[in-house]
């Protein structure tokens, strides 16, 4: 008999095998319930606090930055200011 034919024959016999009785319904349901109830509820409060504090800090920085920007002077202004005045004369 050809090797492949003998393997086919072996497979044909093997397909008739009855696997052992396996019952997992109880364990699966228990596993699902455990997973569902043991899953920690996501608490958004700490995240909200961090987000709030960050927002306050950011607004303070923005406020200070705005006033800092307002007070910035052009360093070349001192050179050009007399010339502008001279043109007026």
């Amino acid at each position: 008999m050809d090797t492949m034919k003998s393997i086919e024959k072996l497979a044909q016999i093997a397909r008739q095998e009855e696997p052992p009785e396996i019952s997992v319904s109880a364990s699966v349901m228990a596993h699902i319930r455990t997973f569902r109830y043991s899953r920690p509820a996501i608490d958004v409060m700490p995240v909200s606090w961090v987000a709030g504090i960050s927002a306050v800090a950011a607004s303070i920085i923005l406020f200070l930055a705005f006033y800092a920007y307002q007070s910035i002077h052009d360093p070349y202004m001192n050179f050009f200011a007399p010339i502008q005045v001279a043109w007026l004369w």
């Binding site: 090797t3 497979a11 016999i13 319904s25 699966v28």
Partner: protein, 229 residues
Amino acid sequence: MIAEYSQIVRGLIATTGSGPGLALAGFPVAFDSPRSTGYNSDVHNLDLLDIQACLNGDDQGYHRLLRRHETGVARLMWRFSRDKTICEELVQEVFVQAYFSLTRYRGDGPFPAWLHRIATRVGYHFWKQQKRAAAEWSLQEIDAAVSPEPDTLDPSQAAELLHGLLSRLPSPDRLVLTLMYFEDCSTEQIAQRMSWTRGMVKMRAMRARKKLKALAEQLGLLEKLGWIQ
């Protein structure tokens, strides 16, 4: 029991129509179900109702689904591991994965086919995790599996022998031949289960057969089985 339940289901379908997300009505009556498991439109209706119940938070729905399909899944997982404890774990893994993916089942095909797809992937992943060397069979184990009388080869012995032979192949080759030999799957079905192309499955099957043939000849399988004419 199933017939009575089916009648109730038909009544429910007639009165309530289809539930959200699942096509309870209008499904094809003739399915390309995995093997001849007696799966028909009545069982499909029961499956859809139980899935719907489960999605609505009724665990008993999933329990009924589990009871209905655990034998089929166990049968498939037995091809991946012949250790009963491991097989149980694999079946459990399949149903837990299926539970958490249940929202992705569209209901347009048979539920067992969807389950077997998950099961095949779980089994394949299990093989890949295992060390190939550890799963290899020795000649002595083959001798132990073969019956002293060649013509009276038991299905269990044949399955043991074939499982041992296939375990010496790389995981993808082993998967293709396992599904072909044990589950009688076509190349198209294997391709669907694994999301591979059909050409790839055909190529793998051809190469795997060559490897298996060489292996069987190397181990003297025919002589051991007494099938040499």
